[in-house]
Amino acid sequence: MTYDFIELAPQVAVAEWGWTIALFLWFIGLAGMGLFLNAWIRSKLIFYVATVSSVIGALFVLSHLHRIFNLPFAAINAILDGTLNFGSWMLIGICLLTVLCIVAMLQSYMLAKGDDRPLKNDLVVWINAALGLASTVYSGFLLTQAVGVTLWSTAALPVLWIFSGLACAIGLTEVLVAMHRLDHDKLTWLPKTANLVHIGEALVIFAFLQVALGGNPGAVVGAQAMLYGPTAMLFWGGAIGLGIVVPMFCGAVNARTVKIIGGLCAIVGALFLRGAVLFSGYFDPILF
């Protein structure tokens, strides 16, 4: 059933979760899954990119706050009043992002000074990977808790962010390999892993849309917007075309430039996927 007789309100008009939030989710996905992937690759360059990405992502979400200058006072007041809400994914995210940025910056400083423990010490490497994975998962649950937008009210979203963030991190790695900044011989598993991740991402997108099309009217309209509505270009062209199809095609071609293009498309595709999901968010109708 379509709900074309009802003009639903897009969340982006009221809540204003648009490109700023999409960029935040994208940078955190790249940083988080970059750190996760780096548990196997152990590249100084990927670590640096993840660090910069986590800081830029945090800056984007801070820039979205309408009362940013009240943040320290709000935190202090909440601590003093005992009203910190640890049931809120926003607060969990604030804590996670703070730890992520501080840990990543400190370890980048260590690496820059020639201390290789962030890449050599297994315990540190896996703590970083867990922190990265947790940050990516958080960025998914952040949306699922915004229950006004029923398109997002699905556990498929954090899983989608994991696959998409991983595809993004693999795209970065492919670019670095093609540019001879990483040793290709040590990463022979990369092309096959990339394909598996892209196929996994496509399956999770299918599950996400399937759940939405069988859900509340707001979710149905959101899924329809992605499939053949106002955000179809973002979804089909950006998320599916650039994010999945082009990287898989480029992965099969043994040419340096094509590999770079494929990697870059995988990275950009993750941004378009987040944009498509955000801009397809609608509030449920009051009567139906």
Binding site: I6, A13, V14, A15, A74, M90, Q145, A146, V147, F283
Partner: protein, 193 residues
């Protein structure tokens, strides 16, 4: 007055004449600084009341909706610093500006799309506004109830069986909106005689 008050609104769509006086009164009382501008999110007057109309439905419907004063409010559950809270003296959901960072998480969390972001203060607005809170404290009715010429609005304590709103609920086909969303809403509407 009962010990645990639950102050809330009833809107009777069968009485409403669609004059919008309640909406204008809300804007004048609560956001006089925004009388020359609009709530861009709703493309609407800077008021806490939103008109919902389904003109293309089989049977045209119009409702005026505002904060549902939910007992299990998503805006309270998602607020990171507890800026949204249940006011024990009125039973209403309120916002403490000193703990708000303007993240709009509560705006996206409201299944009723009843919050909007103030363009100057960055605070998430909703019913009831500061102007109406002063009216209530002075023993008066909220601005929308005072302005309604058709008796389509009632405000009061639903926990007091002798209150006007409790009697109206008992006498009419009053219902809450989207009860299946599990927020335990307390905004009552009457859509059929």
């Amino acid at each position: 007055m009962t010990q645990n008050r639950k102050l809330t609104h009833l809107f009777d769509a069968t009485q409403c004449v669609g004059c919008s006086a309640c909406i204008v009164a809300c804007a004048q009382t609560n956001y006089p600084e925004m009388m020359e501008s609009t709530n861009e999110g709703w493309d609407w007057l800077a008021a806490n009341i939103r008109r919902v109309s389904y003109d293309r439905a089989k049977r045209p419907v119009q409702l005026l909706i505002q904060c549902q004063q939910c007992d299990d409010a998503p805006c309270v559950n998602t607020c990171p610093f507890g800026a949204n809270y249940y006011d024990k003296s009125t039973g209403q959901v309120k916002t403490d500006a000193s703990r708000c960072i303007g993240c709009n998480y509560c705006v996206a969390s409201c299944p009723y799309d009843c919050r909007w972001s103030h363009p100057v203060s960055g605070l998430p607005m909703k019913c009831m506004g500061k102007g109406c809170e002063k009216l209530i404290a002075a023993g008066q009715q909220p601005a929308c109830v005072q302005a309604c010429p058709a008796g389509a609005r009632v405000f009061g304590d639903v926990n007091d069986p002798q209150s006007a709103i409790s009697k109206r609920i008992a006498q009419s086909h009053a219902q809450t909106l989207l009860p299946h969303r599990g927020t335990k809403p307390n905004y009552y509407v009457v859509v059929t005689k």
